[in-house]
Structures are given as C-alpha cells and as structure tokens.
Subunit: 408 residues, 2 copies
Amino acid sequence: MPVGAPSRFPLAAVRGVRLGVACAGIRKPGRRDLVILELAPGSRVAARFTRNAFCAAPVAVAREHLAAAPGGIRYLLVNTGNANAGTGARGMQDARACCQELASLGAVAEQAVLPFSTGVIGEPLPVERVTGGMPEALAALDAEAWEAAAEGIMTTDTRPKGASRRVRIGTVEVTVSGIAKGAGMIRPDMATMLAFVATDAEVAQPVLDGIVARAVDGSFNCITIDGDTSTNDACVLVATGRAGAPAIASADDPAAALLERAVHEVCLELAQAIIRDGEGATKFVTVAVSAGADHAECRRVAYAVAESPLVKTALFASDPNWGRILAAVGRAGVPGLEVGRVGIRLNDVVIVSNGARDPAYTEAAGQRAMAAEEILIAIDLARGAAGATVWTTDLSHDYVRINAEYRT
Amino acid sequence: MPVGAPSRFPLAAVRGVRLGVACAGIRKPGRRDLVILELAPGSRVAARFTRNAFCAAPVAVAREHLAAAPGGIRYLLVNTGNANAGTGARGMQDARACCQELASLGAVAEQAVLPFSTGVIGEPLPVERVTGGMPEALAALDAEAWEAAAEGIMTTDTRPKGASRRVRIGTVEVTVSGIAKGAGMIRPDMATMLAFVATDAEVAQPVLDGIVARAVDGSFNCITIDGDTSTNDACVLVATGRAGAPAIASADDPAAALLERAVHEVCLELAQAIIRDGEGATKFVTVAVSAGADHAECRRVAYAVAESPLVKTALFASDPNWGRILAAVGRAGVPGLEVGRVGIRLNDVVIVSNGARDPAYTEAAGQRAMAAEEILIAIDLARGAAGATVWTTDLSHDYVRINAEYRT
C-alpha cells in the first residue's frame, strides 16, 4: 500500500518530446515493458548515473554516447524486466545491438540512442524481444503519452510516478515534466533508479549539466529505502528548446534559476513519490537533522536513522521506541557529539531533550505521533548551523515478502 | 528457529567464579532476569565496551569502576528487561544505586561492582526490583550455574549460549568458559551485546587487556545481524588465578599465546552462536572476502554484502539472486575496483568469474547452494593479498515480526 496521494496525471506535454510504449514480453507476456522517448532534433541532454562500480552495460553505453554527442541524442530506449547488469562483454554487445536497431528504424546515428534497463541483474538481455517491440512503441509515439510511459518503466512499483511544473521565461510559458520508477534497491548515489525529465526550454549544455547535478543532489540523492545502490540508476534531463522561449545561455541568466527551481521541484516530487511507493511502505518518513557542525555529519546521522532496521520496524509497528532512534544517532560516527544536548522530535511531540526522555513526554503522545502515515523525525545535534534531510520508509512484512519472492 | 546445533552445556566450571540467578520481575514476572557473577579476591578483569556515543549508564559506570580498580572487581551484576540507556542523569544514579546495594550485601567497595543492563532503551530502571532480587541471586551462587546464568542474560534470544575450552599451562590445566547474549541490534563496535568470559589462569593486567582486545576484534567485531550497534555492548574477560597454574606475566610468555587462543575460540564460538540465534534467522552465513588490497576494504565489502537487505531477503528465500551480491560489492566503495576480475562463489558453486556469470554456472547449482542452512559467500577481489570474514544471517518475516512487536 503506497503512502499518500498518487501522482496527478495527465502531465503537461513537453513540446519536442513524444513517448511510445509496447508490450515486448521481455520477462512476462502482456506487460508494458518497453518505452521509447523521441526527442526533437537539437535537444540537449544531461544525465547523472549510478556510482556503483558494477554499473550495468546500458549505463556504460549511455555514458559513452552522451559524451560523444550530448547535443545529438534523439531517442531514450528503456526496458524493464532485465537490468542487463553483471552480464560482462555480452551485455555490452547486447546494449549496443538494441541501440543499433532503434537507430536503424529511426534513421539516426547509433550514438543518438541512450539505452536504459531495469529489472533482474545477471541474466542475458533478450535482445530479440527488445528489438521486436520497437515498431509497436514507435508507432505509438505521442506527445501526450507520459502516463503510459510512467507505467511502462515500472517494475515492483505499484503506481506510476510523474510530476509537472510550468514556468514563464520571457513571455513564453515553458513546461517541465518528468517520470520515475523506484520501489527497491534505493539509495541513489548520483541518481535514482530511472528518472526522465524534459523541458521545452532552450538551455545551453553547461547550464543544463549544472541544473541536473544540483537537482539530483537535492532530491534523488536524499532518499533511501533499503540502502542498496542500484547498478542501473540514471536521471536524465532533456531540454528540447521547442517552446520558443529565449535561450538560456548562462547560469547567470535569471531564467536559469527559475527553470532550475521547476526542475528541482519535479525531481523532489518524483523522489518522494518513489519513497511513498517504496517496497512494502506503510509510512512516509522525513528525517531532518539540524544544528550539526557540517552537512556531511548531518547526512550521516540522517542516513543512520533512515536505514536502521530497528527504527524502520518500530515505524512499521507505530511503536514510539525512540531509544532506537537515539541509538542510531549515537552510532553515526559524529566526532565529539555531546549526547547530553541532543534533542529529538516526532512530528510536534518532543521526545528527547538534553539527551534523555523529555520530562513532559508521554507514551500516549508518542504513540499518537507514530500512528500517522507521514512522520517527521527531527534531530537537533545542538552543535552548529548545518542541516540535512532524508526521506525514507518503514520496514514491513511486505518488504521481505516482495524481495523474497522477486524472481519467482 | 535458530540455525545449527545449540551450545553444549554444562560448561566447565572456572575456579574462583560463582554464578547466581534470580527472577526479579524487572519487566515481566517469573522470568530469570537478574544474574550475579562473584569473582574471587585478586581476580583481574579486562573489558571492551560499545563505541555508541549514547552508551548506557551502566556502561559508563562499569568503565569508571574498572579504571579505578581493575584488580579489585568482585561482582558483575547483570539485569535484562531494561537497558538503562537514554536515561540521562537519573540513569547514572540508578546504576550507582544498584552497585551500592550489591556492595553493601557483599561487604565490598562500590567500585568492586560492574553493572550491565540489556533490554528496552529509554525507560527508567526499576531499581527496587533489581535490588530486591539480589538476595535470591546471592543465595543461589554456585560454581556450576553457567547454564542458568546464560539463560538469565537472554532477551529475545531463543536459547542460551556458552562455550568452554581447556588449555595446559605448565603442568596445570586451566579453564576458559564464557556466556553471551545477542539476538538483535547486533553490529558490535568493540564488543557485542553482552559476553562474560572467565578463566582460572593467572594473568597480568596488560596481558589480559591485550588478549580481550584481540579476541573481541576477531570474533564479536566480525558479526552483524542488522547493522545496529547497541548502546550496551560489553565483553568482559575475568582471570581469577585460582587454578594454581604459573602466572602469565608477559605477552612473550608462550603460555600467553596458548591462553589467547583458547579465549579467542570461546569468543568466536559465542559470536557465531549469537548469529545462529539472530532474530528471525533461518541461515548462518559466512561472507569471506579475499585478495583485497587491504583489510579495511575487505571488511567494507564483507559488511556491504552482509548488511544488504536485498542480499538478506534473497538468502531467506533461498534464491540464488547473485546479482544482488554483485551490486553490494559494487557499492562498497573500493577505489579502482576492476569489476571485470571479481569472482564470487556460493559454497562450492562458482557463480561469478571475471565480473560476470560463470559460463559453467547453472541456476540449479545455485539453488542447491542457497538451499543449505549454512552458506559461504566467498568474494575474490583479485587485487591483493588481504582478507576479511564476517558472519551474518538472512532477513526473514520473523525479524520484522519480532522487532515490530518487541515492546508489545
């Protein structure tokens, strides 16, 4: 059961982007598992990829193609059901073969295709099924098909994820729309599982690179479901320039800040949607650490709490077992932490002050706070001015069931 | 259901140590929850404690007393049901009050008592119940009561844990016996939840300090159930000197090495017993990393695999989803790892060679290996001569159930 309201569809169309979906039978028949995004000529593309050393073959190929032709990308090709990771030299050949086939069908260069795969790791990609589904997906290309595409990239997700913003640049309204998939193996390290965001603004490549980097750091890089960084994470930002708005040539252009804000909001909404639909999630949890000496130690504390199995099972049980939060703070490796000054709040309930149970705290108040579907864990380190926020879920029976049964 | 055979009781008695147990009703009535170990005068004591910044009050008091009188410790006082952690100044007073009462009953100095608590964090210690149980425990003191004491320190453990070794020093046989508790919040950082090991050898304090440090690093500090380091971890090593064997005055004495080996074996057997009885455990898993550049990176890889929820749920499902192992290796932060050289074995089945699925690997062979109750995950980094081994469990429905229901 996902937490909170689903994403609102339809998304606003982005001029210069069309999306097509097919059932290619990659892992199971009759399931939308192949998505193509067609980009207008002249679109610029920026991306962040996983830092997992075992990055998947499509990640390696996408990096290579993007480096060769960042202004020449015409297709994003996405399959689910198979991650094409841990597949060695054959995996690279398979990813290239898929790009070649789509390039041939679309009459573009092989480097104009960026491939993305998600699903089971370590099994050979069924290339003929991927290529066999391409004509159906190309025939379906439609500027309005964002919801179908959001469904087409799902694996264990229970609902499609999308977000849109509009922003005025000069006299022209431009659109930012994006879709993402998540559900498990989520602790992005540069980007999340898969997210595709597009705008019809016209943006110079260095500006676009900066926007995607900062937007990802402030959104997908602040979430965790299980602390496992995927081999296939990628977040792509496309700027088609087809809205007819004035070009954003420099990061100093005030329009750059406006657009960046819209992109950041779309990414944050997608990142939080991933958490709300995390495997087995019954809670949406914000861990906000404040008054730390620096951002890095605040992040360490936030992640130690957000990834503690004991905190997560207490959240699942709606049990205000705040001692587990305190224990996680204590092991996060903050040098010289004065535990006698630390404060912890659950929503508006002060549970710990000066490192021990607050005198006014009652178990009933704690239970009321923990019973909510959306919970803020606010941790005050009382030693500086830095802060960090991380979003996460609880750890439920369904998380174990989903991941124990994943391949069966 | 714990994995493998239970500990063998009775343990060999240690001359100079008597143990007494009582039902003090600390959390629930009718449960053995108070244990006293009485040490002969002149015993020497060495210990390692948790590095969690929020260490419990009894840990702080035990550290203080041990520093004041390492050669004058006469009682170890252990209660379950309440950890006396996150209890601030009152917790310190409560821990001291318990020591004072036992010191008074035993006619020793307050510093001669080391207190230990385990159980729920953040609730005040019911001091009167602890002190109220002391006469019963003192009346029960018996050199043969190791099994009762091992039961008395259990919390969510399903069975008592103990181990013994004998070793000849000069012409005299000395004994090393120990007990431990574990079950959850287990990723020791200097020591595990609670372990008490005693020998009747006579050992100089610096030699004893060195032995406990190395024995803990090679045993309790190599296990993880859920990656959560407890606020109350402690491992105590007692040397009563009552066997009548020649004193071990220096680390260069060959007898020091003999004794250290016996202590290490007892600690390792106890550490592995904790894993075998880990919360919800259905598998006993050894993660052995070899051919790394240094010990630290081997440990990082071993812990990344051992603590990955996705690897652990696959182990629970007996699913040879080795892609998850590979993904965990990839995100462990090994600088410059050549993924194309990495090898992974499950028991005797080679699953990954040169970074991809081994040509001879079959799913049937993988499934056979994963179906075993005891599983070796051997990871070859192919870049050096260092190694590290970590022991862990799977992540089962019962882990979630136990920890969601812990306080109810």
